[in-house]
Amino acid sequence: MKQILSSQPQEEYLRILGKGMVTIPKEWRDELGLEEGEIVKAQKIGNKMVIESGTERVPYRIFSNEEIEQWLKEDRLPPVLAKKIERKLKSLTSD
């Protein structure tokens, strides 16, 4: 998922096709994550028209299953350390 969006205004001339259809440039669709069948919000403001992506970009990362698997591998404790941890936890519980 692309989450880094260009903040610079971008401009394109689009041709109006039959029944008022226009093609949103592929680069913009990819950047905004717009897919076929998705609902977008359109607003007419004076002589301008603004089309907004329905889903807001999230401010955090989306991780893959592989990354999550890797975390679990990294999270495994060596037996010696695991024993020390258990002892420490036990001592805290008995305090």
Binding site: I4, P59, Y60, F63, I68, W71, E74, L89
Partner: protein
């Protein structure tokens, strides 16, 4: 008491593996040996992965509640501002959250984005470590 900021990777690992370092670290939080903190933004990040990790939103929320980890409100744009351009956009909320909550440590399993020398240097005096590294110090 030492204050530790938990990112989404550590909380997810703790939910999935009760014998791993992340789950053990949360046990220390539960026993009051360390102070655990995270943010609503990190929780939203975890909930975004609910289907992938096979947990429901209510199970995730229950886990957070039982963990004893304190949840700070969402990191807003103004709070993220000082870190713009210094760390990757998607990681700003983590470093900002740890700094804003005055944590001593940020624990993460994200080697690709956070457990990197350049990010560690930039985050100082906050120390970025994985759960295993912190547990080695603790015991």
């Amino acid at each position: 008491m030492i204050r530790i900021y938990f990112d989404a990777s550590v909380i997810i690992a703790a939910m999935l593996s009760p014998t791993g370092g992340s789950a053990k670290l949360i046990q220390f939080v539960k026993l009051g040996a360390v102070f655990g903190i995270t943010s609503q933004t990190a929780i939203a990040e975890i909930e975004e992965h609910a289907f992938k990790i096979g947990k429901t939103t209510s199970k995730i929320r229950q886990f957070i509640q039982d963990s004893g980890i304190i949840v700070r409100e969402k990191i807003n744009k103004a709070e993220e501002e000082p870190y713009q351009g210094l760390v990757e956009k998607e990681d700003i909320h983590i470093v900002a959250g740890a700094k804003l909550t005055k944590c001593d440590y940020l624990v993460t399993l994200d080697k690709k984005h956070l457990l990197k020398d350049e990010v560690k240097k930039l985050a100082k005096p906050l120390r970025i470590v994985n759960p295993k590294e912190y547990l080695e110090k603790l015991v």
